[in-house]
């Protein structure tokens, strides 16, 4: 009887000790921004501007007002040596313990991402217990703090939901890459491939009209809505940002890469029989992309089979493809040609410009060696891939022609 009583007493005494912390005693950060600090030479002294966006649990309380004034109080920025110590610094004006455990995104300005210090700053994130490995990395064109404070989701009240939905949906459409911290560290430490991070922007710039996925962040022609948008990717090599990819290029990367998948990819192609119009299709990857690397004395030979399933969604030229096998063949050949061309262009670009690939193909080169040392000496990264002989074979199937097969007879309509 003595021990249970003792335990009961302990509960009263120890409540509030150790790791125990009530949920309402913490502030939950949903987005962390990192910027280059103003007026500090980053080469000489380690410093970073850290922006926190907090989630507001007050929304749930009856009678408490959820709306803030004109100034946003849930976003704060401060200059600190790194993001971990920034937590305590922020407590000089945020009253509760700041928790990273529900942080969804890490937003980094392009300027900072291009510095060598960036990877060093981020590596502290591996050590911190609270930072999740599935946190997404977003690189922004302007300042990260601006990106966060300008972000006013139109349909969602809670900021974490906004990030969650945006990333989930963007990953489904394939316009942005999968860019978790875990993948970032895995690829960077593997020292062979390119890491792609989500590329976002908060400022609009003029870029003219293009096909639906050929934009980079900030270029999408739109009016109204949230000023913040994400499309395309920022390319990281060895922990440092070295360039960008458009939405289309990001999609191709995702299709060629077996470690990522896309579900809902809508795209448009020129109609092979009537060049004025564009055929809208839904692209689906059915099987794994087959990658075969052949070691040779000179540059290696890489054979890639690229399996794709296509459903036709709209044919504005009103040419009846469904009925005519001949026309179908033409269409198939045209689509194959176009997709192959796009992929080849991207591969050429990565070979020349980035000197390595973002498709995680080093995974197929590694088993060809019996020791790590041999593989490292062979040097996929700089010596082999840029000169490799890459063959792409399309494996394309048209599986559907929409809900109604037959097109309407345009001549009768216009009659």
């Amino acid at each position: 009887m003595r021990y249970p009583l003792l335990l009961c007493a302990l509960i009263l005494v120890l409540t509030g000790c150790w790791d125990k912390k009530e949920v309402e005693e913490r502030s939950y950060v949903v987005a962390i921004g990192m910027d280059l600090p103003k007026g500090i030479d980053i080469e000489k002294e380690q410093a970073v501007d850290v922006t926190f966006q907090f989630s507001n649990p007050k929304l749930n309380v009856k009678g408490a007002s959820a709306t803030e004034g004109s100034e946003r109080k849930d976003v704060v920025t401060l200059t600190a040596p790194d993001i971990v110590t920034a937590r305590n610094m922020a407590n000089s004006f945020v009253t509760r313990e700041i928790s990273y455990s529900h942080n969804k995104v890490l937003i980094v300005s392009e300027d900072l991402a291009k510095k060598e210090i960036f990877y060093r700053l981020l590596s502290t994130a591996i050590k911190d217990r609270e930072i999740r490995r599935e946190t997404n990395l977003i690189v922004t064109k302007g300042k990260a703090s601006e990106f966060i404070s300008k972000n006013k989701p139109e349909l969602l009240v809670r900021p974490h939901r906004y990030y969650q939905f945006l990333i989930d949906r963007a990953a489904e459409t394939g316009l942005v890459p999968e860019s978790t911290l875990n993948r970032f560290f895995a690829i960077t430490d593997g020292d062979a491939d390119l890491f792609l991070a989500i590329y976002g922007a908060s400022n609009q710039e003029e870029a003219g009209f293009r096909d639906e996925d050929q934009y980079k962040a900030g270029q999408v022609p739109k009016t109204g809505g949230n000023p913040v948008l994400m499309i395309g990717s920022a390319v990281f090599k060895e922990g440092k940002m070295i360039g960008t990819l458009t939405g289309e290029e990001t999609r191709i990367t995702r299709l060629l890469d077996n470690t990522e998948n896309t579900r809902d990819l809508f795209s448009s192609f020129q109609d092979p029989l009537d060049k004025r119009y564009k055929i809208a299709v839904r692209i689906k990857k059915t099987n794994r992309t087959k990658v075969k690397i052949k070691l040779r004395n000179g540059p290696p030979k890489i054979d890639v089979t690229y399996p794709i399933e296509i459903k036709i969604l709209s044919v504005p030229s009103l040419i009846n493809y469904a009925d005519d096998m001949k026309k179908q063949k033409q269409l198939k050949a045209a689509l194959e040609q176009k997709l192959k061309e796009n992929a080849e262009n991207l591969i050429k670009k990565t070979q020349k410009k980035f000197k390595t690939e973002p498709f995680y193909w080093s995974l197929y080169a590694r088993p060809l060696f019996s020791t790590v040392k041999e593989y490292e000496e062979w040097d996929w990264n700089n010596k082999r891939y840029p000169y490799a002989d890459i063959n792409i074979k399309m494996d394309l199937n048209i599986t559907g022609f929409g809900k109604q097969f037959k097109e309407s007879d345009i001549e009768k309509v216009l009659d």
Binding site: I11, V23, V30, S99, H160, R161
Partner: protein
Amino acid sequence: MRFFNKRKRHEGALGQDDSAAGKPSSGQTFSGNIHRDTDYIKQLYSYPANVDFMVREFTIFGMGRKAALFYIPSLTDAKLVDEDIIRPLITKEMAIQDVPSAVYVSAINAEQEMRKAFQELNTGDTLLLVDGITHAYIMKTAKTAGRNVEKPQNETTLLGPKESFVEKSGENISLIRKKIRSEDFTVEKMTVGARSNNEVFIIYNKELASSRVLAELRERIGCISKDAVQNLSLLIQHIEDRKRSLVPTILQTERPDRAASYIEDGYVVVIMNNSPFAIVAPATFWSFFHSADDHYLRFIYGNFTRLLRIIAIFITLFTSSIYISITNYHVEMFPTDLLLAIAGAREIVPLPAILELFLLEIAFELIREAGIRVPAPIGPTIGIVGALILGQAAVEANVVSPIVVIVVALSGLSSFAINDVNLSYTIRIARFVFLLSAGLAGIFGMVCCFMACVIYLSSIKSFGVPYMAPMTPNYKSSGDTVFRKLLTNERFRPGFTKSKDLTKDTGQNK
């Protein structure tokens, strides 16, 4: 205590002084002299001061001898005594050779030893002394007041039989016996309670029951050294394995059909007067977990209810402690939305989560306890005032957060899905232990506590049978543990009962 004992002894002495007749020593026999014996019995029963005792003296003409009839009117069927014993003995004109051929009652036997004869007399039988005969005739005339067979109250089923045990052991035995029509069905009688002489009936199938369990049971019942053991609920506490343990090791059931099926599986059943249920030994964890409906419902339906029940057990045990450990130690385990909902609700609550939860859990237990004790006419008030108004008002007043009300209501509701009363108490109390360990060390504490529970459960035994058998240790059985098999595939009696015949299939026996 010693003081009371002394006093009791003293009173006993007084009583002896009053009656001036000592209790018959064991082995003392009737003298054959009717005057001496009658006087002795009268003094023993304080006749005529004791109203509830009848002596009828008469002469049997057919034998030409004096006779005396003794019975206790409140326990005896007076009509039977009048019509079937006294009338034939008095009115018969032919010569009577022996008494059993002269009376009409069905059960009659001769008893020489006084002490045994009085024991029977005390149960409502009629004692007949005839002058010159050195033994007494005991005739079965007992008839006690009691209720009829009614529907089960605690172990209700959808498709099972609708009769339950009553307070009369005779009827209870008949309720079981009518399901097992076999000469192997055996009922043994033992007497406990030195003063009140309570009868205990041990029922088993002599071809199936394990002799070890039987011997153990007889010994434990025989060891009880109390003046009175009124009913089974008290008897259990004298004979169970671990008297201080949280878990029950003897099953109580109020369903004759369940008792019968346990007998058929080689278990031993005990019945007593004044107890509307039977006890089953040995009992494993699974016998508490199972309900009669599991087998009466079809295979899938029965297993579905089993699934619900095991979920209910885990919800009762763990929801509140998981809530505490996650909110206090492992916030990263919550989905963000839920976390913010909880944090928002807790914003204006004054108590730490653990106290908040303890408060509500205890309130719920109070409502539950009050619901059992409250007189039936105002029963519904408890539910309305206790649960609805109290819960609603506590949330409105920001004393507790609504999520805690949900957690407590969920675990409380689930505890009602546990069919056995004893198991339900076990789990409800164990829940607080888990809550405590979660409050002290989060999920780590819960895991430690759970491991301790599992170790404990697999270490205890009931009448020599491991508590978690046949799951661990593994015995040959029909595998009727969490889920049951098809009836056609339930081929074996549970091996741990050490039944003499392991197979249930008739074909394999021959």
